[in-house]
Symmetry: C2
Subunit: 231 residues, 2 copies
Amino acid sequence: MTDRERARQHLSQSPRMSKGERTRQRIIDSATELFSRSGYRAVSLRDIASHAGITHAGVLHHFPNKEATLIHVLSKRDAVDAPLVLDEGISHRELIDNIVRIVERNTGTPGLVALYVNLSAEATDPAHPAHEYFFGRYQILRELLVPAFAELLGDRPHPTPEVAAQQFLALQDGLQVQWLLDPGTVDMRGAVVSFLRTLGITVPDDPAGPAAPADPARPTGTDSTGGADPT
Amino acid sequence: MTDRERARQHLSQSPRMSKGERTRQRIIDSATELFSRSGYRAVSLRDIASHAGITHAGVLHHFPNKEATLIHVLSKRDAVDAPLVLDEGISHRELIDNIVRIVERNTGTPGLVALYVNLSAEATDPAHPAHEYFFGRYQILRELLVPAFAELLGDRPHPTPEVAAQQFLALQDGLQVQWLLDPGTVDMRGAVVSFLRTLGITVPDDPAGPAAPADPARPTGTDSTGGADPT
């Protein structure tokens, strides 16, 4: 390593990244922010370049087209969440708890929530470049959740594990729209935990989480604005 | 009425519409279809003109800008659904039944489902022209549903009517995304009815509905691909 490299590492916020890696990172960060705000289709590669403070040609040096940035935006996100749901050895109980934890964590990242809400909506069109991604994502999540609900619902004849898995995922997605529109009125974690509780599945309180009620002593059912503070 | 007008009425598909009204209708139909497919932001007024087979100037004669078409697309839809949920004199029980009926009817109109999924996602951005519309829409629906659930949940201590209303709306929205991505695996009506049943609220079967199972004798829980046929 040269002195200059050492100095650059010392000065840089991401010391282990090369200049090229940092540029790629900046492009992906800009793409993530713009897709979160406007969806994929309404954003151009030139918009991404301009937001990142890089020339259009500079972006093309790293990503051949806009679709390539989308794939990287989605993969980057999955790399964070995948171990919480996909790792072998996770019990059915832990899978549900981890998903509740992701719901809770999401209240701290409205931009990423908006990214998923916008991209999954657009991607319902079979011609959208993320269609296969979202199709597969729900397939995988349902395949994981059906045996989990089959165990956790026990002898309960209703709903079937298949329906419970669809409801559990749908509830999370729908709550995100209401929460983004009006964060003060929706407690995403609370509503998901309540759904599970109705099915006889209790989830431990997580007072350290960002979505925990500000006042755990607050009686339930008296405050229609909910207890979550997403800020 | 001149002979020519009479002849035009006779030949036209919408005999009571003037030529101008038919043109407006064609523009709104094109806007609805394009917004459903790509969202609002990615569609231009020129795209709408081209799809409707009208010049850009012709569209501008009827609508000053793209936002005006959006307002008309949303109002047109509301005019159909509003009587089912907003009419005075609808009981709490009828409100829930009518919403289940709308869910069922939606399985016959995937384009309109995609329109709402796409627009509500985009409109989570406070800068989107439909933000106030969707903000108000959920507010009104929750205000109608909270007293309905307060009555129908009876003495049940959990969930609160506020949480049940949010869950009920979220479930419908989330199911639409899964259903659009993979219609064969999701029975939207079935999942909503199942949610209500878990809360002790039964909904009468509607075998004439488009979302009724093809084979009522099919055992539940053994077929993970579901029984709904949305076509």
